[in-house]
Amino acid sequence: MTYKVIGKRVKRVEDPRLLTGQALFVGDVSLPGMLYAAFFRSDYAHAKVISIDISQALEIPGVVGVYTAEDMGDDWEPGPPLVSPPPTLENVVFNSRRQVPLVKGKVKHAGEIIAVVIAESRYIAEDAAEEILVEFEPLPAVVDLEKCLEPGSVLVHDDLDTNLAAHLIQNKGDYEGARKEADLVISRRFHLDRGAAAALENRGIVADWDEKNQHLTVWDATQSPIPIRNGLAARLGLRTHQVRVVAPFVGGGFGPKIMMFYAEEMVLPWISMKLGKPIKWIEDRRENFYATTQEREQIHDVEMALSKEGHILGIKQKFIHDTGAFNPYGLTTPLNTQSHSMGGYDVQNYYSDLTVVFTNKTIVTPVRGAGRPQGIYIVERMLDIAARELELDPMEVRRLNFIPPDAFPYDHEIIDQAFATLIFDSGNYEPAFDKALEMLGYEDFIKNEQPRLRAEGKYVGIGIVPFVETTGVGPYEGARVSVEPSGKISAATGVGTQGQSHMTAFAQVIAEQLGVEVSDVSMVTGDTAEFHWGTGTFASRGAVVAGNAVNAAAGDVRLKVLKLASKILETPEEELVLEDGMVRVADKPDQSISLGELALLANPLRGAVEPGTEPGLESTKYFGPAFGATAFGVHGMILEVDPETMMINIRKYITVEDCGTMINPLVVEGQIHGGVSMGIGNAYYEKLHYDENAQLLNASLADYLIPGSTEMPHIEVHHANTPAPNNELGTKGVGEAGAIPVPAVFAQALENALHDYDLEILETPLSPNRLYELLQKKEDNS
């Protein structure tokens, strides 16, 4: 299908406001009489609260109130269960434990809130929080993913007799049978560590209860304003129409801002209702490190059975996933790990045993990639090791195992976060893979470049990794599109915007349907007063699910426009064209009517509207896919390592991305750039260091190392296009893609660069210090 606007590199319409500081963030919200909150958080990761003394804090001038769990009375209850285990899975053990608004009895991770101070300024609130005296009885902390399951281990939740949060097994084919046929069976253990999402904007809330209107407005830096609105109404005993949640511009989401019902989200609206005053809280960076969710920590024991030609006969995997102190988000993340542990390969036999554990660490929920990077890491690492053992070209081994293009739709047989058996809708992997090899000059590098550089004493290596990303899952999203009497278009959808360029991309979809300029479309996202059905922005689904809802609504408006215009212009609909904000009779450009005039005619002030019709040129439509759209990509890098200092320089970085139809390639490239930077962080820089007491040792951006512009290589992006067959736009998600394969690419390239050392990398991230230790161990052994 040829498009006029979709697929064009349209500059982001939201940028002028963002770049000139005119966009509204929660931090910009300022209301008359507004009060400020600060929290007293536990330093201890695991401790009994013996007593709380707030008397000194209350004496500080400017303090309005101090609240503890006791003050909440019957209103105190844990957050709602957000995602339950898929009912389709059999024999699942799942112990649900959810975060609480204010600590009662026992602290379960550092940063949990003991008390809230409300004061006339944030300064005063923080001064007062320092004066709260809490007597703790510290308890040993649960930290280690394996030790916590040993008998007699300290328990995170005393009402459970175990730290087991969940257990399940997924099985496909007959792994043990396949193993018997194998020429090679390799097994390895992998450690994947925790990172932070570290959005530029931390969380923030302004809650404003208007007593006379009996109405609560909450500005919340969330990815999911609608579920937050619904949940708040339920918790606070209000009707949903009494609550408006606005997620204005949000400076990055990356997962942790999904509908979490964080303690602060539960407490501050409650206090605003008590006081009848607006209350503001902006999370600071230190709070963010303790209180905002994190991800990635898993330990895997993996076995792979192969034929001597390199065919994967089966994969067996037993892994432990750390969910932190609570598990409100169910099994989403580890299920994604399972659904990506076979990568884009046709593996007929797979056995996966998943254990999820509670620890006294910050809660784990999806972070950009959401379990997928772990799956891709282990399968790709195993393939590299297998290729070495079999003395095969690692790239050939991959080619050999790809799901072939004629096998789609491909039944993956594994149940994933969408609750249904995963089906890969479409794909064409090999050409994209070949393109990546070509872009990186793989053949030439191996044959000529690398030997030449080695002769110069340079340790330079190459890594190329293909990956899949399941995207665009349901349940549904909706959108409303209407033509204003001015001829401009107003539209709204329920998903919030945290930098995904929704205002531009969705406007392009509408502009395509209605023949208007992108700049004529005003798109509102993330305001329940504008649109209040939907779930939110997560799982790389905005362009797929909301995008197709927008497309459906705009398509319906187009039909209404054509119908009305046909009547007025006395011309059959087939002969009408929509362009430049007008409906024209094809070949008779002087016979036309503007969209604005049509909008006025569709909404008359006098006379009767025909029975069975609706006024206006407006439509609301929904889109809910039966299953998602599976994207594909290949990343490659050439890196240089100084084997004396262990410092690494990424000399070249390429990606081939197949996310189906692109609404805007600029936006896709931006997503990839951002994702790769997160992936480089996960591979080399970013690790949350918890000690044996579950104390976080790097709770600042001075010690938690995020790659910045000085660490980022230039990224060359090539687009492949295998449109998704199950949605009209043909889109697949790309929001998380960039982050997924990077640690696997990095490990492969680093091993390749350090070929002489015969190194095997089985962990991520890998710091220079850790690399030094691995090389030392090699030296000691030889």
Binding site: T645, A702, N769, Y772
Partner: protein, 292 residues
């Protein structure tokens, strides 16, 4: 992350600063570029009752020649020093050091005097001024005194500045003829605190022997750490690869005292110190031979 309450003064002359310091003693803290102080105040790790902002004092950001060296006002910003042609010509080691400090944003605000008075053992300027045998002019109500770098830095975040003292000027002498220099450091990201770093200054005599050597480490202990025994090894000797290896080994394994933290173990830091010392000495030697 808001600071604890404090009184704020913005005097316009050094004498006013000295009066304030005299009055408030330990309770007062000078605010120069604020690139270390403000974050520490926001974390409430530092809670001065009185903040004396010296940014409004004129004439503290000069860079001028003085006899056999240059003098810098305490309020010279890092960026100013980085771009200064006199420094480039007369103190090339300092010129090379400047871009390795933190980020451009921090260098735009941070001051030379502030960094030195803060005395972070990971600060490049602390090690480099020690290697260059700089002197610091300190004023209080009773007068002024000059303190050499070797006596100025006394410990972790500690200098010989008394509560009533203000650092007003830094003097860096010219290096003798036939001197070479180098600053090598390893940091995770260019702007991070270095895991380890070394400033090396070598002077050769007419027969190409090492007349004097100075190796000063950053992030290797409580303050700028001078490897004296390694310098002794080099002194009077013809510089060779073996000698460089021996000196590096000595400094890295016996003289420095780096700590463990999440970024690097002491063991890795010693290893890096060894590697960097070799590289720094080799570069300094090449430059000394080049006659610069």
């Amino acid at each position: 992350m808001k600071p604890a309450p404090f009184e704020y003064y913005a005097p316009t002359s050094v004498s006013e600063v000295l009066e304030l310091l005299n009055e408030h003693g330990y309770d007062a803290k000078i605010l120069a570029g604020g690139q270390s102080l403000i974050p520490m105040m926001n974390f409430r790790l530092v809670q001065p009752a009185v903040l004396v902002d010296i940014n409004k004092i004129p004439n503290l950001s000069y860079i001028k020649t003085h006899e056999n060296g240059i003098r810098l006002g305490a309020m010279v910003r890092h960026t100013q020093a980085e771009r200064d042609s006199l420094i480039k010509e007369r103190v090339p080691l300092l010129h090379e050091t400047m871009p390795q400090i933190a980020t451009i944003q921090i260098r735009n605000r941070g001051t030379i005097g502030g960094s030195l008075a803060h005395a972070d053992a990971s600060a490049e300027l602390v090690a480099v001024t020690t290697a260059l045998e700089a002197r610091f002019k300190i004023q209080n109500l009773e007068g002024e005194r000059w303190v050499p770098a070797s006596e100025f830095f006394v410990g972790l975040l500690m200098t010989s500045l008394e509560p009533e003292d203000m650092l007003v000027e830094i003097e860096i002498p010219d290096l003798p003829a036939r001197s070479g220099w180098s600053l090598k450091e390893v940091a995770r990201r260019p702007h991070d605190f270095a895991l380890i770093g070394v400033a090396a200054v070598l002077t050769l005599d007419k027969k190409d022997r090492c007349q004097s050597a100075k190796l000063v480490y950053l992030s290797a202990g409580d303050g700028p750490l001078v490897a004296e025994e390694a310098a002794v090894l080099l002194q009077g000797q013809k510089i060779s690869e073996d000698l460089i290896i021996a000196a590096a080994e000595k400094a890295a394994t016996e003289e420095i005292d780096p700590g463990n933290d999440i970024h690097a173990t002491a063991d890795f830091r010693r290893h890096l110190a060894n590697v960097l010392t070799r590289r720094a000495l080799a570069e300094a030697y090449q430059r000394a031979k080049g006659g610069k």
